[in-house]
Symmetry: C2
Subunit: 298 residues, 2 copies
């Protein structure tokens, strides 16, 4: 079966299309890599690129794009609303298929070392690749942004994980890491009472004693006059969709309310939906190699 990782590098350029094209072109040129999405934001002055493909190919694509960004983006001239510390601001690897989180952490480490060594850019490891709790969250690493980190990088507690304790004169610093795929999932309730959606959101979100990998809010969908539990599933392998759906169903029943539907926003790895089918059909001994499409690339 095909080994697949996703990689979502963020570059500090959202206004000059020719620069964005040149950076993305480097990734696109790598065989075995598919560019799924390019989302520039002019006010953030930032572009989010989504790559997917085999691990080593995706890593190579991320490196070449990062090198091109270092060539074409000058952080001394960069202004935008989004926090950032470098031309290539952050590069997360995401396991999709037949790849473990550990393998994504290794990819992040390999890429971080390569960026530091070949491009002389300081690199920080974050999320699942973080070497200490203080480096786990991106905002902590990005504190002070490019301008602030330029001063503080010499302090031992802010030394990078790879490369010099000195900002690259144009490209700044880069954060590389590994995380799970974020599934954006909404559940619509058969009520226009947003208070019920808010109560249910509190039942399932980690912050209120709910599921570890769930972020949730109760909101009103005005044009449908429907209350919605809007959810970020930050690790569908740890907290699966069906469990959240069933809990919302059970909590809604407490108020005599039904689930009228749910929505997946954007992309979802196949596995997240196979897990749902496996649960509800009570499948025994199911192997994803039984999905015909998964046999194409053996």
């Amino acid at each position: 079966m095909l080994k697949l990782v996703e990689c979502v590098p963020n570059f500090s350029e959202g206004r000059r299309p020719e620069v964005i094209d040149a950076i993305v072109g480097e990734a696109r040129a790598v065989s075995g890599v598919k560019v799924l999405d390019v989302k520039p934001d002019a006010s953030h002055n930032r572009v989010v690129v989504t790559l997917v493909g085999e691990p080593q190919a995706v890593k190579a694509a991320a490196f070449h794009a990062c090198a091109k960004a270092a060539e074409l983006i000058d952080m001394e001239q960069h202004h935008g609303e989004h926090p950032r510390i470098g031309a290539t601001d952050v590069i997360p690897f995401v396991p999709i298929s037949e790849v473990s989180m550990e393998e994504c952490v290794e990819l992040a480490e390999q890429l971080g070392a390569e960026i530091a060594e070949k491009l002389n850019i300081p690199v920080y490891l974050y999320e699942a690749a973080a070497k200490s709790p203080a480096r786990k969250n991106l905002p902590d690493i990005r504190k002070g942004q490019y301008e602030g980190l330029k001063q503080e990088i010499v302090k031992p507690e802010r030394h990078p994980d790879f490369g010099p304790a000195k900002m690259h004169p144009r490209a700044g610093a880069t954060v590389v890491g590994a995380r799970q795929f974020l599934v954006a999932y909404n559940i619509n309730l058969g009520t226009s009472d947003v208070k019920i959606a808010k109560k249910i959101a509190n039942c399932i979100r980690e912050a209120k004693g709910g599921y570890k990998y769930v972020r949730a809010l109760g909101v009103m969908i005005e044009d449908r006059n429907v209350a919605q539990v809007t959810i970020n599933m930050i690790d569908y392998t740890g907290t699966p969709l069906f469990r959240v759906f069933e809990t919302v169903k059970s909590e809604a029943a407490r108020y005599g309310v039904n689930i009228i539907g749910s929505e997946l926003v954007g992309l979802t790895p196949m596995q997240a939906l196979l897990d749902v089918a496996e649960f509800y059909l009570r499948l025994e001994g199911f192997d994803r190699k039984q999905v015909l499409e998964n046999r194409l690339f053996e």
Copy 2:
């Protein structure tokens, strides 16, 4: 997204590995075609080959394999337990992904015409590709087998759909057609009373007033001491897995019996399982392009 068809040609050779290899080798040599399975049966003296890939590539692979079989198999010398009328006995096309049944019927017609024209083999169209109800079922076309059809092919009602009304002197005749993917699905009950499984099987099978595309039997799984409803889903797009599961659950409850699990035997198209997830999560506006893996081949 990738357009995929499956093709499952059956050849009248199950004993000489070198002949099987030569036939399968022709299919394997076509770029864009994956040979998923080769199942020879010596007592049937027959081999079932499973190919998958893009429609035109799969059609080409089936043609070349059929030509090689005509070269290497002599029906005058062929003996085996399984009914057959030709060296390439039957070639069904099966829609898997982004391909309609109509497209598979067209593929069958194109291949049938090509086999008749280039190899001078009479071809019958069956199942979804049949031109008349009398040709729908394979056993009707195969009546009398190779030896009988050799005499009867001259009768107007047994004339082929393509090619001469005369058997090929070595290769006989071939049946080409299109059908849905058969999903083999078993549901295990929390009882050792096989009578309950038999009653439930009768609720869901077409023959007894059940679902149109369901064949089912109640059987005993001796080593687990569990009664099972064993099911052939002959068209999961017409009768989906979740509907059968829910009906079995409801009928079993009539006897105070639970479903303890279910099993998929062999391969299943991804769509059959996505349909299950879509049903149970009550997904609104779901598009299979939201499955990340489906975006790889756009």
